[in-house]
Amino acid sequence: MNRRVLALGAIVLALLGLPPLMQAMGAGYYVSTAGRIVVFAIAATSLNLVLGYGGMVSFGHAAFVGLGAYATAILISEGVAGAGWHLLATVGVASLAALVIGAISLRTRGVYFIMITLAFGQMLYYLANSIKGYGGDEGLNIRGRSALFGLDLKDAGTFYYVALAVLGATLVALQAFVRSAFGRAIVATRDDDVRAEALGVATYRYRLAVFVAAGAVAGVAGALSVNQQGYVSPALLHWTQSGTLMVMLILGGVASIWGGVLGAAVLVVLEETLSAYTTHWEFWTGWVLLAVVIFARQGLAGLMRRNGAR
């Protein structure tokens, strides 16, 4: 227990010290990369809730990231600057969409669920393409950022800390959820939904609640991404983005608290380093994914746990 607290403390310190360290090493550019990792980590962690703990293989999760991004970007472009409004709109739009999509999709199982969430995701992708007033297929550039306690979110370091705080809150909430009676009922539903239902678990409603919560968190990741990039485009909603989040989760460890974080870090770092040498970096990350799936079924988090226990 004590060793775990120490390890956690070390990780937190390292994450907090990252930007000044990078600046000191003359690698300030990588602070924005770190920020990107954190945003991906939030999105992948929200997918972990649905897919890892809930057992719902949603292939349209990027749509909620995109919806959150558009909600915030549109408000900023319309001159609404307050981060509180952005959060409200983001969570509202993303969870409402998740409620409708989930209510329909969760009546199906297995491959049908994967396909129907994919279809809904793509519908929203084309919708984003068609809203000419907000950039259409070219996307939407925004000049301003969310106004949050007078912070300058255009500054990579400031953005990194804000995103890190959101990620921390997400992880703490996920951990609390997994340990709660509700969380355990969800995991049981994942293991055997017929059995859980027979025990008195309202499986449909529980799954829907989790689907909506994960959609809302994904939306917040999208709102952060807009603040980092100053830009949102339909590509953010595309199914390949859902696939990227899934790859991150499988790399990092499905149903591990840190799975989404580790996967996001590894995939983005791989992308950054490999793309310096080859334009076909995805070919090589494919091999990494293959190796993880074959040799470390529980992802990197599972691998670290096994080594830690030794």
Binding site: R184, A185, V187, D191, D192, V194, A198, L199, G200, V201
Partner: protein
């Protein structure tokens, strides 16, 4: 005769050309151990799935404790005190033994019927109730064990324990002794025998000897219809039953 705890009328379920339930009438009286026997393919498990809600009946009604549950979801029936076990063990691979039972206690706790004895709401009482259930099924020493490490008999005991954990008014047991050795069967019989004191049991079982030892009443299901229902001795001597089922034993 007092009003039955479970009152099934005219239940029908068709799978393609097969009438799995062909107008079933069945009454289970509070406090009894009621056995349902019949040849393979008679529709016993299909009937049980309709009672617990996994399958929706095509026609007919199921009245439990005075309220019509025919169209309720399985979880709603469970919360009203109608629990079941499964013929093929269904457990949660990421839970240990105690975790299973705690989950089963908690799943109904927040929705406990008014006036039910001490619904377990807080963590401590959930655990206490779960440990009680483990003691009942003889698994208290295995509380922290993973599912993979349990023997077949222990898994079957836990399967039944899950159905008991919510303190149901009626528990439906689907072949609890399936695939068990003699020792394990005897232990399961003892578990069911102890249930008699505090709940009502509807039991599907292939072991006819065990059935006649345990049951207060026996119903015989053949080709989707109940052909006889009554005390074990009269059912045993019923000529239609002997012809349709017991005769070929």
């Amino acid at each position: 005769m007092s009003t039955p705890l479970l009152d099934v009328r005219g239940l029908r379920k068709r799978f393609g050309g097969v009438m799995a339930s062909d107008g079933i009438d069945l009454q289970v009286i509070e406090g009894e151990v009621h056995a349902l026997i019949g040849p393979n393919g008679a529709g016993k498990t299909t009937l049980l799935a309709q009672l617990a809600g996994q399958l929706r009946a095509d026609a007919g009604s199921i009245v439990f404790a005075g309220s019509d549950v025919t169209r309720l979801s399985p979880h709603a029936r469970a919360r009203q005190g109608l629990a079941r076990s499964f013929q093929i063990t269904r457990l949660f691979r990421s839970f240990d033994v105690l975790g299973h039972v705690e989950l089963a206690v908690q799943a109904v706790a927040r929705h406990a019927r008014a006036g039910s004895p001490s619904p377990a709401r807080d963590r401590g009482s959930v655990q206490a109730q779960a440990r009680e259930v483990l003691a009942e099924i003889g698994l208290e020493a295995r509380a922290a064990a993973s599912i993979d490490s349990l023997s077949h008999g222990e898994q079957r005991a836990l399967e039944v324990g899950l159905a008991l954990a919510s303190r149901p008014r009626l528990v439906l047991l689907d072949e609890p002794m399936a695939g068990m050795g003699l020792d394990e069967s005897r232990r399961m019989e003892a578990i069911i025998e102890r249930l008699r004191a505090r709940t009502t049991v509807l039991l599907i079982e292939h072991d006819v000897d065990a059935v006649f030892r345990l049951a207060d009443r026996v119903s015989v299901l053949v080709s989707g219809s109940i052909i006889a229902s009554g005390p074990p001795d009269s059912v045993r001597q019923d000529s239609t039953v002997i012809e349709a089922y017991l005769g070929d034993e």
